[in-house]
């Protein structure tokens, strides 16, 4: 990476709840996205991945509070922007599509109206000036997202569309502003399995054609392994590991990533029961003082429970672990020594 990343996030923290009892939905997120890259943001429900994206978009509302060491897009500091500048960024620099496409379209207006709306705001000078030009572009966009009979679709209302088609419309609306980054928050979760693959392929293709970066948020590792260049793994509001695909899947650095991979059906073919991660994600009031994964981690020792590890670069990626895993999948450094020492004491 020679030039500055497109998205630079460091020390992101998003709090909810009262000032007296804050609940950190996101507490320690560091990662970067380069222009044109596909980054997969993976984690369980409640890991804070959606909130991270919303924070980037400026969509975290009161009573949420966003703090960060650095939150930059295209080199510009988002934190220093006023509301108007942030709003100008949404839809034009960064676009976002959401999990339930049918619910994300306003049921009272046609597809054409909603596309037109986006273009009136974010289109180029020609598009902003002329309705005819906007309509032509709308048709082109719908064709690009592989919607058959686009002219008829422009007149349709959202409830007349299927889930897959609605998601394509959302994608069309998102790229109408020619964004540099497209955030897709669980874009395929609400769709049929057959449609899922199509939508992912579409996203990958559009990314390539428009030289966009893509932040793919999902809980599904399979989705990410097919599409992404790099992966960021989150747990309980923190980034646990970042790494390149396919290395992160072959030699994960963090025990959490390892456990996630272990739980995949593909890796359990020789067993009677699926491997699981015991325990539950810490809630608002029982966040461990040490490593957040410690209560559930198979390798946890005293130091893990006492001290929260920082996110450190390891090899080509980074990991938030006192004892990151070696290529054989076992904890490195002095783990054995420490463990032995603990049991001897």
């Amino acid at each position: 990476m020679t030039s500055a990343p497109l998205v630079d996030i460091r020390g992101l923290r998003v709090e909810f709840g009262s000032a007296a009892h804050p609940f950190p939905a996101v507490d320690g997120v560091d990662f970067a996205i380069d222009a044109g890259e596909i980054v997969g943001l993976v984690g369980e429900s409640g890991s804070g991945k959606s909130v991270t994206a919303l924070a980037l978009m400026g969509l975290v509302d009161f009573p949420g509070r966003v703090y960060a060491e650095r939150l930059a897009f295209g080199g510009r500091d988002i934190l220093a922007m006023d509301a108007g500048e942030r709003r100008a960024l949404a839809g034009r620099g960064i676009a976002m599509i959401f999990q339930d496409p049918l619910a994300s379209l306003d049921p009272c207006y046609t597809v054409g109206y909603q596309l037109d709306e986006t273009m009136r705001l974010h289109g180029n000078a020609e598009e902003r000036a002329s309705a005819a030009v906007r309509r032509a572009r709308a048709l082109a966009l719908l064709r690009e997202v592989e919607i058959p009979d686009p002219a008829a679709r422009l007149r349709a209302f959202p409830h007349q569309l299927s889930g897959g088609m609605a998601q394509r419309v959302m994608i069309a609306s998102a790229i109408a502003g020619r964004p540099q980054l497209l955030i897709a928050d669980e874009p395929t979760t609400a769709l049929d399995v057959t449609v899922q693959a199509q939508v992912l392929e579409l996203l990958a293709r559009l990314r390539a054609e428009h030289a966009m970066a893509l932040l793919l948020i999902t809980h599904d590792l399979a989705v990410v392994s097919e599409s992404a260049d790099r992966v960021v793994v989150m747990y309980a509001g923190q980034v646990m590991e970042t790494g390149a695909v396919p290395a992160i899947f072959e030699t994960p650095l963090h025990p959490y990533t390892q456990a996630l991979l272990d739980a995949l059906p593909e890796h359990n073919l020789d067993r009677a029961r699926l491997a699981t991660i015991p325990g539950v994600v810490p809630g608002a009031y029982d966040r461990p003082a040490g490593c957040l994964l410690a209560p559930r981690c198979r390798y946890a020792v005293e130091r893990c429970r006492a001290q929260r590890p920082p996110l450190e670069p390891v090899g080509r990626g980074s990991a938030r672990c006192h004892f990151p895993l070696d290529p054989q999948g076992r904890p490195t450094r002095d783990w054995k020594v420490v463990r032995a020492g603990a049991s001897a004491a």
């Binding site: 978009m57 969509l59 709003r87 100008a88 960024l89 949404a90 839809g91 034009r92 676009a95 976002m96 959401f98 339930d100 619910a103 994300s104 379209l105 306003d106 049921p107 009272c108 207006y109 709306e117 986006t118 705001l121 974010h122 209302f157 409830h159 007349q160 959302m170 609306s173 502003g177």
Partner: protein, 335 residues
Amino acid sequence: MLGFVLRRVALIVPTFIGVTLLAFALIHLIPGDPVENISGERGMDPERRARLLHEFGLDRPLAVQYASYVAQVLRGDLGTSLTTHESVAHEFATLFPATVELAFFALVFALVVGLPAGMLAALRRNTVADYAVMGVSLTGYSMPIFWWALLLILFFSVQLGWTPVSGRIAVQYDVPALTGFMLIDTLRAGDLGAFRSALAHLVLPTIALGTIPLAVIARMTRSAMLEVLREDYVRAARAKGLPRWRVVVVHAFRNALIPVLTIIGLQVGLLLSGAILTETIFSWPGVGNWLIHGVQSRDYPVVQGGILLIATIVITVNLIVDMLYGVVNPRIRHA
């Protein structure tokens, strides 16, 4: 769309039949002798009574009487008032515009104040503005209309002398009744003094009548907006970078209007109930006042005709609102 309209119309036919049944049954349910009730004469000699019985058709079987009543109604004949000896239908037609004018302005008042108030309360949730709007709204629909009207008169007419106490227009103005709507008629007659007087007379009754619908509309708008603002499409609209006013008005409010419209439809019935009371207090010459005098003076043709006509109007208005609902909510159109 046509199918939707036809279906809605078909649904109200049984209700309308039921209303005619109710109006018809009224005369027969009232204690006492139906002949006396209809003719208004008491203590007739048996010969006259028998003749009137036959004249009114009361000696025929009930089903036949009902059929002939419906036939009469459809011809536009609703009987004759016992007190004024005028045709009931004619009296209603003469007095109805006054009630409509009052109800119309009351509704406009309720919407113009209530919709923005509800929106404001939703956007400024749990702040002073929200509590103020909700507090006023709660008080508004907990008040008896007639008392509120009396208080308004006490304050604005008696203490401050700003507005007149009663009537539709100052006594000295004699305006030819073209449409029956005082504001229009005074303008057409070119009499600005009369127009101003009519306007002044409208103020207090409008506020009195409109207060309860205002309270209900404000409340409903607030809760509808709060629900809509949580929806995914509002979040998506913001993610598109749309300016705040557009998100709130074009997207949120437009969707919140759907449940609010149903409430507005319901307000029509409330307005007519309230009109009865408001007209009594302000001596407003509308059908509410007319109906009450009819009940108080046992003028049964008036009561019967009044109930039938008002019920019909309410049903028709609800039908129109129902169809408007189809326009406003695209999902219904295709159902």
